[in-house]
Amino acid sequence: MAAGESRDEGRDAKEADARRDGAGRTTREQRAALNRQLAQMLKGGVIMDVTTPEQARVAQDAGACAVMALERIPADIRAAGGVSRMSDPAMIRGIQQAVSIPVMAKCRIGHFVEAQVLQAIDIDFIDESEVLSPADDVFHIDKSRFDVPFVCGARDLGEALRRIAEGASMIRTKGEPGTGDVVQAVSHMRLINQQIRHVVSLRDDELFEEAKRLQVPVELVRRVHDEGRLPVVNFAAGGVATPADAALMMQLGAEGVFVGSGIFKSGDPAKRARAIVGAVTDYDDPERVAALSENLGEAMVGINADEIELLMANRGR
């Protein structure tokens, strides 16, 4: 069965309620807009990796705007090595039942059947993620064929716009997951925003060459040129471990933050989670970030991103 067919059945079931209410059928364009808009609702928030229903409740109580359900957080994936895959759907369902906030889950890059499975269990957002082992070393998922939204990682503007062209509703920096080292997230966020400023500075007749250089459709380059920003929400991810890290990413232009290993690999997860939520809201207030940073206990043991052999950020371009 083609991806499109299985999806339409899912959509029919999900929309039965809305249609009964006289809403009419939601078109594909409207569905894509609703998915980008869900990402807008997450702005100014923190999305936390969780591996159990208990952790999910801790995250929700601490003020997470969504949780990412996965069997192992990136630091443990990194330590374990081997092939890492989509989580057990039963485990994800357990987390869906534990919290009322949106639940995200990861599939492997290019593994559109894992994505179909996640859509079938009514996931709110799929992360086509370099944290898992890539299933396809050339092609990403055609995300425009799905009804659920996708978030994808990017290191530069070209990657971000290629993922958006494939249908991603949200972008995040790749950073370097599972390290507690924010350096890669910083460089990716700076680079994307530098490149956006460059595109804005171009003449209209220079956009075609820029599109060729970035290997993306010229329509997307023109939108960036006209609006001075990505066409979708852009979060920071990969190495955020402290309230100051989170506030740093916000001041650099992130619209929200993913925290993976940084919370549940630390000494007092609930307190650190609350502190990072507070720092994302009040990122421009150093006194508040200072207060939030006090007595948090042990941060996760960091791994210097220069000293690791596996750079997850190099997966999927």
Binding site: D21, T27, L42, G44, C65, I101, P102
Partner: protein
């Protein structure tokens, strides 16, 4: 001057709509910001659990509740409607200034999100985006229904409070914000 609650969510989108209508906004991020001059309030979409928790922690809940109850014109959209509701199925009441009961995530998860057009009393037909939206399951005395989609109540007014289950800040139609500014 419109105060826009800026703890989390789609507050910038409301500010853009209000700027289009020539309104200045002030972002409310902590209790100190409540001392700034504003005479209208927007409670934006986002995650109601996050916004409600931060309102409590930052000491903003009681002062805002007092001002809304005293009649300050207030527009709550989606999460904002949940914050305003007196009773909440699947969540904690927060400001509890609006005499309605709402159901959180009433249409299900993201696959249940949908777009509709329906008539809003006094405005006409408007586009409505419902994103993991609530709806109003009971309208108590003091509140009036402004719009329904099918059987469900999706917009209510109580005094100078407007509560919407959908997102007028997202679809490029300023009429609902104009209604809010006329209160």
């Amino acid at each position: 001057m419109v105060g826009v609650l800026a703890l989390q969510g789609a507050f910038a989108e409301h500010e853009r709509m209000l700027a289009e209508l020539g309104q200045d906004c002030v972002e409310l991020r902590d209790a100190d910001d409540l001392a700034r001059p504003f005479d209208r309030l927007v409670l934006p979409g986002g995650e109601s659990t996050v916004q409600g928790k931060l309102l409590r922690e930052l000491g903003m809940l009681a002062p805002l509740r007092e001002r809304i109850a005293a009649g300050m014109p207030t527009l709550g959209t989606c999460a904002g409607l949940i914050l305003l509701a007196r009773d909440v199925d699947g969540g904690q009441p927060c400001l509890a200034t609006m005499p309605v009961r709402v159901v959180r995530n009433a249409y299900g998860r993201q696959l249940g999100s949908f777009h509709a057009r329906a008539t809003l009393s006094g405005v006409g037909e408007v586009p409505m985006s419902f994103i993991r939206a609530p709806y109003v399951s009971q309208v108590y005395p003091g509140a009036q229904v402004l719009a329904r989609v099918g059987e469900r109540v999706v917009a209510v007014r109580a005094g100078s409070q407007l509560g919407l289950a959908f997102h007028p800040e997202l679809d490029g139609d300023t009429r609902i914000h104009e209604l809010f500014l006329s209160l």
